[in-house]
């Protein structure tokens, strides 16, 4: 298949079906160049590949990982794709990028391959549906929609990606102070409820208690904390409230979803509206609640710079008692050279909103990255790349990945008895993954995200109210989405 | 008002630029510091101005030691070699510049500027900026700026060096005229002896940081006190001929032998009798003092003309006797041609004798 459009070639986009395709049966040297962010989960993939991979087709396969620094990863990949460089055969990608790069003709639609290959079908069936929904589908299909179909792969759904590192946010907390008897008694006395100490306690922790924890532990220098005098101010809680990328949206969405509000739902396009949904009273109240806890957080919260790394650092340096952060950022917390609380930390599920029936809704926004194949490869390379996918999503590989700080999306692996003990946050992660939804996947996601982050930031830094922020977001999204035909 | 320098010394590291010089400049006197470049004359001037700190010795202005005072506190006027006109200011503003420190009224300043402008014929260019001026005009502005106020003394650093010959002559006269009206001690630094000879009341000839001779222009020219001054002052340069004294009588009639065969019996300063026969000396005589003679005499040297340079009213002849070069200046009407043999006479009392230590041999007046 060769499709050359003169105009798009001139404009910088070239979609070339790859040139040579040899016979798949013949063994050959195959090099798969993969764009990957430079961090342990991808480094593990490369190292483990070199140590264990043998091609079932008898190829000599090289996985050539182009490790790109995280902060520049998006630019590098976007520039490579949109300029038609065609350098990469596989790409680690944020799930939000799917729409833009699928529409651009860069990410390969794997639906047929999955349908034709029972092994791949089995893998898709074993993957947690929340992950399949978030990481693989475009146009985006929700978990509910996939499950409604009753079969995997679901008919009429296009599949693109596989989990490279599935991520959720969980609570990181200081066992030494949350389980301190004096503090526990004082908390009980002040709020008439228990200070969460065990995993089970956290399972019963909602946002109200989260706020109480924040208020309770906000202490000045000179005050006592768990029997010791503080030399600097201490804070109870922190979660992301940063202007960069998606560093507030991820947490705000949780509040909105849990309280019954919604973001613009692309899986229901073109009927789904933004105006009236995004800025519904429920959403405004949810965003207001999110904002109300910021007062208990370290002062950086006032700058709109409190991103996922800042809260991690505040926690690791012992400035805050509990944070909600990605599992993917958990490993350094246990590292004595980086963390002053490496031996005092425990992990629980993130708090949620208590429902009328007393249960807690923990719906959250999924993190982590899938990886995808690109469109310009020969059949031979595609087949070998799929072999790599199968190798990666093999339970053995996945277990090794988890043991080395990774996470698995396979339900069979998560169900293994040893899984929860491999890393201290695994139990929370497994519990949380069931609650995950994802933000938009449409090509215009970045425009929407940037505008939203800006409006949220104004609310976080006190320049406008929650209502104003969401009204602005809704108006902007409504106009944009109508313009491009996602809303009729 | 006087300037008095007392054992004034300036050292730059190991280099001694000015070496313990003593100097007095009286009220209304114009003194020229004359010497080849690098002799320390400018450094001396700058020490008087306060732009350079003295290493040792005293600078006295009006009888007061001023070594520790900054230039602004010494109240001196100085004109710089490159004029140092303020490029962004008009001529009028340049002239008025030194008056601001005196807190004069605007009207008073204007009056003074007009006065100086009149004296130096600057009226027509008062509005121009320095970059629009000719060299001569710049020079006049620089002079004007120093005379506009009433300082302790005037200092000029190579005031005419950047002018062409004609302008230089003109300006010499003008400056001299202006200075005569201001009864303040004035020091002019120059390497041009004509400038020094015409403008100065006294000249201090400097070499290697030392003052070789201080005297009136006439005396410096007529009675150089040493070989250096003799050679430095006067154009064309004085003839300086090494010789051996054979003998002398008390009246100053002496016999000299030169390298080669020739010898000379001439009348010189009677002090020559203090030398014992056989002493090495240098005879000095200005080219204009040599006379020509048709026949050889005992007070003449025989030479051959190498080259004739007409100089307008006079003619300069280069001659040699096989061992020494001689220069002679004579009236342009005297016919001279290259290759001619001639005899040059040393008229009585115009020949200076320098002893082996380069000092002039002269009986006390």
């Amino acid at each position: 298949m060769k499709r050359i459009n003169l105009m798009s070639t001139l404009m910088g986009v070239t979609i070339l079906g790859a040139g040579l395709s040899g016979s798949p049966a013949m063994s050959a040297d195959v090099t798969i160049t993969m764009a990957a962010p430079d961090w342990p989960p991808t480094r593990f993939m490369k190292e483990h590949f070199d140590q264990t991979y043998t091609s079932p087709d008898g190829h000599t396969t090289t996985l050539d990982m182009d490790f790109i620094p995280w902060p520049s990863f998006y630019e590098r990949v976007a520039a490579s794709l949109t300029s038609g460089e065609q350098k990469y055969q596989m790409i680690v990608t944020d799930s939000q990028w799917l729409g833009a790069f699928v529409e651009g003709g860069y990410y390969m639609n794997l639906t047929d391959k999955i349908n034709q290959d029972p092994e791949l079908t089995a893998i898709m069936q074993d993957l947690h549906p929340a992950l399949v929904s978030a990481y693989s589908t475009y146009p985006h299909r929700t978990r509910a929609q996939l499950e409604e179909a009753g079969e995997v792969p679901a008919p009429g759904v296009n599949y693109y990606g596989f989990p490279q590192f599935p991520d959720t946010y969980v609570t990181f907390y200081r066992e030494d102070i949350f389980c301190n008897e004096g503090e526990m008694a004082a908390f009980q006395e002040q709020y008439g409820t228990n200070l969460p100490c065990s995993y089970e306690d956290w399972q019963d922790t909602d946002w109200t208690k989260w706020g109480q924890i924040g208020e309770f532990f906000q202490r000045d220098a000179g005050e006592m904390l768990a029997g010791e005098e503080l030399t600097e101010p201490f804070y109870g809680i922190a979660y992301q409230a940063g202007k960069g990328y998606d560093f507030s949206t991820m947490q705000v969405n949780a509040f909105i979803w849990q309280q019954g509000g919604d973001i613009w739902d692309e899986s229901k396009a073109p009927e789904a509206q933004a105006e009236g949904v995004v800025n519904s009273d429920v959403s405004v109240a949810a965003f207001d609640e999110y904002l109300s806890y910021l007062q208990y957080m370290p002062p950086v919260a006032q700058t709109g710079q409190m991103d996922i790394f800042v809260i991690q650092d505040l926690y690791m340096q012992g400035k805050v008692g509990a944070i909600i952060d990605w599992v993917g950022l958990g490993e350094p917390v246990l590292d004595p050279s980086a963390s002053t609380v490496h031996d005092k930390s425990a992990f629980g599920p993130a708090p949620g909103t208590r429902q009328a029936d007393g249960s807690i809704d923990r719906t959250g926004n999924i993190g982590g990255q899938p990886f995808v194949l690109t469109t310009w490869n020969s059949d031979e390379v595609v087949n070998e790349a799929l072999n790599v996918v199968k190798w990666w999503l093999n339970p053995e590989t996945q277990l090794a990945a988890v043991a080395n700080g990774g996470q698995s999306g396979l339900m069979s692996v998560m169900a293994m008895p040893e899984y929860n003990d491999l890393r201290p946050w695994n139990r929370a992660h497994v519990e949380m993954i069931d609650w995950q939804k994802d933000v938009w996947h449409i090509p215009e996601f970045f425009e929407m995200l940037t505008q939203q982050q800006e409006e949220f930031d104004k609310a976080i830094t006190g320049q406008q109210s929650a209502k104003e922020a969401l009204d602005n977001v809704a108006a902007f999204q409504q106009e944009l989405l109508e313009d491009i035909g996602f809303i009729e | 008002m006087t300037i008095k320098l007392n054992k004034l010394t300036k050292r730059f590291g190991s280099l001694t630029a000015v070496d313990a010089i003593d100097l007095d400049v009286g009220d209304g006197e114009v003194l020229c510091l004359l010497g080849p470049s690098g002799c320390g004359k400018t450094t001396t001037l700058r020490m008087v101005a306060g732009l350079e700190a003295a290493t040792e010795g005293d600078v006295m202005l009006g009888g007061k030691r001023v070594n520790e005072l900054a230039p602004r506190q010494r109240n001196v006027a100085m004109s710089f070699q490159f004029y140092a006109l303020y490029p962004s200011l008009s001529v009028a503003d340049n002239l008025a510049y030194p008056l601001h420190a005196e807190k004069l009224s605007g009207a008073e300043i204007e009056k003074r500027v007009a006065q100086v402008a009149k004296t130096l014929q600057l009226e027509s260019i008062l509005k121009r900026t320095p970059s629009q001026l000719a060299e001569g005009e710049k020079q006049r502005v620089a002079v004007g700026r120093s005379i506009i106020r009433d300082p302790q003394c005037f200092l000029f650093d190579e005031p005419l060096s950047r002018l062409d010959v004609q302008l230089r002559e003109e300006m010499r006269g003008e400056i001299k005229e202006v200075l005569q009206d201001l009864s303040r001690p004035t020091v002019i630094v120059t390497h041009d002896q004509l400038e020094a000879l015409t403008m100065a009341d006294r000249i201090a000839v400097m070499r290697d940081g030392r003052i070789e001779q201080v005297d009136t222009p006439h005396n410096v020219f007529q009675s150089p006190s040493n070989l250096f001054v003799a050679g430095f002052i006067g154009t064309p340069q004085m003839n300086l001929i090494p010789a051996t004294l054979k003998g002398s009588n008390g009246d100053g009639l002496a016999d000299f032998a030169f390298e080669g065969e020739q010898s000379l019996k001439i009348k010189v300063d009677p002090a020559v009798s203090k030398l014992s026969p056989g002493a090495k000396v240098t005879l000095g005589i200005r080219p204009r003092n040599l006379e020509m003679s048709v026949e050889p005499t005992e007070d003449s040297l025989s030479t051959k003309i190498d080259m004739v340079e007409p100089m307008g009213a006079e003619t300069l002849a280069h001659m040699h006797d096989g061992y020494h070069d001689l220069r002679l200046v004579t009236d342009w009407r005297v016919p001279l041609s290259e290759g001619d043999l001639m005899h040059t006479r040393f008229p009585p009392d115009t020949t200076h004798i320098f002893t082996e230590d380069e000092q002039v041999l002269r009986s006390a007046p």
């Binding site: 342990p40 995280w70 991690q312 400035k319 350094p332 | 700190a53």
Partner: protein
Amino acid sequence: MARKHREIGKAGWGYTAVASVVGLIYFFPVLWIILTAFKTRTDALAVPPKLFFTPTFENFTSVFYRASITTGSSQATDMGLYFFNSIFIAFTSVGLALIVGTIAAYAFSRYPLKGNDTYLFIILTTRMMPPIVVIIPIFLMFRLSGLAGSYWGIILLYTAFNIPFSVWLVKSFFDELNPEIEDAARMDGATERRVFFNFCIPQVLAGLSATFVFGLILTWNEFLFALLLTGVETRTVPVAMARTLGGEVGVDYGLLAAIVTLFLIPIFFVTFLLQNQLLRGVTFGTVKK
């Protein structure tokens, strides 16, 4: 006792002391970065901030080695190669721009073309464009020509970035020279080449040094194009540096500081050596004595 008065424009050790205090205050952020290079993460983020601490050299080790995820054994980070690349690419491209620019500058100065000033202005304009705009076309061009990921690609690009600056600066130095000397040399039978190399170049050497330093400062830390147009083999330090800005933790302050510190050394040294020329060159040659 009256104090000895100071001569204008000269100052002594007292002045040095005052200037050093000001200089150190100004230098403080750099000093802090250098100190951070010797700190553990905990020390780097300590409250109150630590001026005195037990120095660690681990950050410097980490610049060149990292632990394997699977085996924990130490792996080279290729940072040595990146340092080489940075130095090689920066020096070559700045040098090349200087050579090409000097030749062009000489022509602009001595053999003005029709519309000389227009050419010069267009040359300068290329420096004014926000780089983001040209990224996509350049990227595609590099792919088509096979220059992407090669030394030559990035060197040529940096050369192009430095040419406007070189031409303008060096031309102003040529303009300053007295062409009579060159004419005199031509009268004496010197060839054009000799005039250029034996008369002109020696007189503008100071200007060339200044141009070199300025080009180097402007090229040394270039990030965006290096990120997009270098490959694994030709990656430069500023790109590699970005790996310390976030991943599993936020900014790795110690490691970043260590790389910054090491990366400062070559350019600091060159600047120090050519300091006097820098002072002269920055005037764009228009200031004469």
